[in-house]
């Protein structure tokens, strides 16, 4: 039986080629992803193990520099005590934070990985810091010196002795480059930038003089890590934690691995789509093979093969095909993994070197996925093969698909689709998270149901397309349209790949574009400022930036949106009002009175926003209602420095996504905060957002490369960026589905051309020229593709609408937007799939020898 199966596979190798390709693609993605992530995590693991090689114990402080009562970190005296311990060869205090390096044009040298970092150079007694190896120059020892990592120095073309502008949270300062170093630090290895300062400079910048945030301890020969840890722990302040180097290396490796997890999931998602869509292609191929071999199979039944044996023979064929495809797919997957690794470095991510890691898991996964999926897909065709009666061997006609089986199929499909659609509508009606779960479940049923129903849908939908064919393409178009509906089951299975792909992509495009436009509108409606000034690393701005902007030429209004720690209730930890608990913080921000309404839209419902200047607060409507506040209500509060006070409500405004529920004047907040936390400053200028104005602001801020001025477009892009990234990933998925769809259409057409040889021969004999034979086949492919695409687009729009309904309450100004341009593009892409897929079958149809084709046998 096995031999027969292998022979059959070999005999139909061209037909099975597409199946092999489809399985191969999926397997290649699965194994490529696994090999790639294994290789990468192995490289990072050895990398981080290396960077903690010399570290016996590492101390990390969890101190909060903003809290005046707590220790900001580990003090110098603790470090000295650690150094004095037995078994400690050396201990290095570290302190780090944000530090952006400007290139010669004043632009930030962007680290591709993480945010640009600054740290201190901590020389030991020998004058060397073991964490850094200087290739040129030496470490910074004076206040005006810095050192740069090799990559950053290279990007800025800086040499030792050059003047380098460095931005931290405060103003930009210029330093002299004392040296260039290499390091085993994971982030720097991965392409991040690192500036080393003199220890005192770094401490002042990031913490407080005499304090460190981390300490690394090197053991003397013979001293155990665990003993050292035990000796060090009692010396530490309460806010600091210590661990051995090995523990930290493991922790870091784990972190990196979980970071890779997201990438792994995306890639496996691609593989999943490829395989899911591939199932239809495989199943279709085997159905066609079985139909083609009806006589042969009937003969086997006639000479004594049991039904079971027939089914088994089909499954064995599938297993052989799956095994071949898996083997090839695995090889392709390894190549893919290598390509991905070099691709990452092409995007500026430096992957630490390491061997290609091929474990048993990807090999096993490749084989299991490839063989099982193929066999699963061939199961139904195999059962159908077993039902061929022995007498079919004697009759000359091909077994025609019975309508009875389609009746069963249609009923099942209709029920599934109805359940799915009902669940989707129900979910859309309920809304929120509960609704989304219902929509997701419904979508699953509806998609399966539609795919089951797709043969039934082929006639009416293609009938819609048909007038487009007969008009411009005459008889070829007419014949193509009719050929496309000849075998609805086959047409449906072929179109399914596109339907699945386009359902996903259309649904998410509708959603993405809808949400994007809603956010766009919200941004335009709510932000009246011309610029939003932020730190490039997302950190807080220094107060100096605010005063610099206030003084800049042409600025008509400036207001920060400053985070304020405000606790409601003035009676200390127990809550004197007795109503609310001790942790009753409100999200509050400090703004500049008189300017805030010029930079942000504030719709005052009651009271007067001008009263902010008098020390009153403004409250959003919903918050006011929830807390029972009105204009004039006195609210007892506790400030960041634990002082109590009373604030009076001066105004109530409509809730806005861009304004905190409680707003105070900066003067009120600043009186109680040592270091204000300013995430963003809004600026309105005379003349609006122009290049000249932007330059004025940049100059006012001291050409600080770490500060970004975002205009309206930038703000919109920032919000839309995530959505676009997500959509682009999805378009990658669509490309995958399209690729498989091409294979499916090629397969179906090749089979159809083969079956219709005599017909094509007759058409050629009575005068259809080769060109129009080609066109006929090509149009059939286009019709099938468009059919699949139309169903997908329809279902996708429906799903997009339903999911949109469930999130509409959380998005201001939500309004369904159908991205017609994108949908049109999808349909064009589907049409191209048809044209592309038909190249080869159309050629072989046109090349048919008329005499051979019309010969009856």
């Amino acid at each position: 039986m096995f031999r027969t199966a292998v022979r059959t596979v070999l005999a139909h190798r061209t037909r099975l080629l597409m199946t092999v390709l489809a399985v191969m693609l999926g397997v290649a993605f699965v194994s490529g992803t696994l090999v790639f992530t294994d290789t990468l995590s192995n490289a990072f693991r050895s990398q981080s193990a290396k960077s903690y090689d010399d570290v016996a114990v590492a101390v990390t402080s969890a101190g909060d520099p903003g809290d005046p009562e707590a220790d900001p970190g580990v003090p110098q005296k603790t470090l000295d005590r650690i150094r004095a311990l037995d078994g400690v060869a050396a201990a290095y205090g570290r302190v780090d934070g944000f530090a952006g390096v400007a290139d010669r044009d004043g632009k930030l040298i962007d680290g591709a990985f993480g945010s640009p970092k600054g740290s201190n150079f901590a020389p030991g007694e020998d004058g060397r810091d073991p964490a850094y190896t200087f290739t040129r120059g030496s470490g910074p020892l004076k206040a005006g010196q810095i050192a740069l990592d090799e990559g950053t120095a290279g990007k800025g073309a800086y040499e030792v002795g050059d003047r380098v502008r460095v931005a931290t949270n405060g103003p930009v300062r210029t330093f002299t480059l004392s040296g260039i170093f290499t390091t085993d630090d994971g982030e720097v290895k991965a392409g991040g930038s690192l500036v080393l300062f003199d220890t005192a400079v770094a401490q002042k910048q990031y913490l407080e003089e005499g304090w460190f945030s981390d300490v690394t301890v090197v053991a003397a020969p013979g001293a155990g890590d665990e003993e050292l840890l035990a000796a060090i722990e009692p010396l530490l302040p309460a806010s600091a934690e210590a661990g051995t180097g090995r523990e930290l290396a493991d922790e870091q490796a784990k972190e990196i691995e979980s970071g890779l997890g997201a990438l792994k999931q995306v890639l496996l998602g691609f593989a999943g789509i490829a395989l899911f869509v591939g199932v239809f292609l495989i199943s279709n191929t085997f159905s066609m093979l079985v139909a083609q071999r009806t006589k042969e199979l009937a003969l086997m039944r006639a000479v004594g093969a049991t039904r079971k044996q027939i089914t088994r023979s089909v499954l064995v064929e599938a297993a052989v095909v799956g095994a071949i495809a898996s083997a090839v797919g695995f090889a392709v997957g390894v190549v893919l993994a290598l390509g991905l690794r070099s691709g990452m470095s092409a995007f500026g991510m430096t992957v630490p070197p390491g061997p290609l890691v091929v474990t048993v898991t990807p090999v096993a996964a490749a084989l299991a996925v490839g063989v099982l999926i193929t066999m699963l897909a061939a199961w139904l065709p195999g059962r159908r093969a077993a039902k061929i009666p022995p007498v079919a061997a004697m009759s000359s006609v091909h077994a025609v698909a019975t309508t009875r089986s389609l009746v069963v199929r249609n009923s099942v499909g209709a029920v599934l689709t109805a359940i799915g659609a009902a669940a989707i509508v129900w979910g859309a009606d309920v809304g929120g998270d509960d609704g989304r779960i219902r929509v997701a479940g419904g979508a699953f049923f509806a998609l399966i149901g539609i795919i089951v129903l797709i043969p039934l849908l082929s006639r009416p939908v293609i009938a819609l397309i048909r007038p487009l064919l007969t008009g411009p393409f005459g008889v070829s178009g007419k014949l193509a349209g009719q050929n496309a509906v000849r075998n609805p089951r086959r047409t449906g299975a072929t179109a399914s790949a596109l339907t699945i792909g386009l359902t996903l992509v259309t649904g998410l495009s509708v959603l993405g574009v809808t949400v994007g436009q809603a956010l766009d509108r919200a941004t335009t409606d709510n932000i009246k400022a011309d610029y939003m000034v932020v730190m490039a690393n997302g950190g807080p701005l220094d107060r100096s930036a605010l005063s610099a902007l206030e003084k800049a030429d042409g600025v008509s209004a400036v207001s920060p949106q400053q985070a304020v720690s405000l606790r409601i209730g003035g009676g200390g930890k127990d809550g004197a009002d007795g109503k609310r608990g001790p942790d009753d913080y409100v999200a509050a921000s400090a703004v500049t009175p008189g300017a805030v309404e010029q930079v942000l839209r504030v719709d005052v419902v009651r009271g007067d926003l001008g009263s902010l200047a008098e020390g009153r607060i403004a409250v959003a409507e919903k918050t006011a209602a929830a807390r029972g506040w009105e204009v004039g209500t006195d609210v007892p509060v506790t400030f960041a420095d634990h002082e109590h006070g009373t604030l009076t409500v001066g105004a109530v405004y409509e809730d806005s996504e861009f304004l905190s529920p409680v707003v105070v004047a900066t003067e009120v907040a600043d009186a109680h905060e040592a270091k204000p936390y300013i995430p963003q400053i809004f600026v309105k200028m005379d003349g609006g957002g122009t290049a000249a104005n932007e330059k004025v602001l940049a100059r006012a801020l001291g050409e600080n490369p770490a500060i970004t001025m975002m205009d309206h477009q930038d703000i919109r892009d920032q919000f839309g960026g995530m959505i676009n990234l997500l959509l682009n990933i999805l378009y990658g998925l669509l490309a995958m589905a399209l690729l498989i769809a091409v294979l499916g259409v090629v397969n179906t057409l090749a089979m159809s051309v083969f079956e219709r040889q005599q017909e094509i021969g007759m058409l050629r004999a009575i005068g259809l020229d080769r060109r129009r034979v080609k066109r006929m086949v090509r149009l059939e492919a286009v019709v099938i593709s468009l059919f699949g695409a139309l169903i997908g687009v329809g279902l996708g729009v429906f799903l997009g609408w339903a999911i949109g309904q469930t999130i509409r309450s959380s998005i201001p100004g939500y309004e369904l937007v159908l991205p017609w341009d994108r949908i049109a593009l999808f349909l064009v892409a589907a049409g191209l799939v048809g044209v592309l897929a038909s190249l080869w079958p159309a050629r072989s149809a046109a090349k048919l020898n008329v005499l051979d084709a019309i010969k009856t046998d």
């Binding site: 008889v475 005599q758 017909e759 050629r764 004999a765 009575i766 005068g767 020229d769 080769r770 005499l851």
Partner: protein
Amino acid sequence: MVGSLSISRQECSHVTTTAHRATAVAARATELSKVYGHGETQVVALDRITVEFRQAEFTAIMGPSGSGKSTLMHCVAGLDTFSGGSVRLGGTELGALKDKQLTELRRDKVGFIFQAFNLLPTLTAMENITLPMDIAGRRPDQEWVERVIDMVGLSGRLHHRPAQLSGGQQQRVAVARALASRPEIVFGDEPTGNLDSRSGAEVLGFLRHSVRELGQTVVMVTHDPVAASYADRVVFLADGRIVDEMLAPTADGVLDRMKAFDAKGRTS
């Protein structure tokens, strides 16, 4: 042999006199050769055949299997290329034509009836009949098409698909299609080969009728003496050559002639 009948004007000019008819040739093969393969494996399918098919004449080509009768028809109909000699169809020399021109020639000047797989299953009977005109992008001559349909007796079944028609009915659709575009010549390749004798007789009757009443030229390859007896003339082929010809054949006469060839073949 001149039809009794009302024929359209065009046909009238063809059939006004027997003298004219005798000289008007629809297709002519001269010294036609067809050789397959090279050297020792060379097979001569047609060996310098010269034959004429006159207008408004029903010719049957007969001969044993492998005699070259189908090859002769394919070459004259522009379906196959030939190795030597020339074929003229109407006023056109086929030897010089490219595939595209041959296709157009077949489309405009030739009608075909095959043994089987004659019709497109997706089209209705009517659509099948007008298919050659659809391909050519011409409007069918409605009156003429109706006449042809009347003749083959399909009026009631025009909107059926081939699968809903009997074998005989399907072949009648094929005859109607071959005639509907008023080709200069209709070729039939064993047109009754797959039919029972009654349906076969009907189809042959239509073909003879189209020749007598409509002035159509028909050339048919067959191995059935009864089918051949419907023709005006029978040309006998053996080993790629024309070995005999019979005018006003009868089934018995044709059978006798065939037997004679068989006997000759066996003794020589």
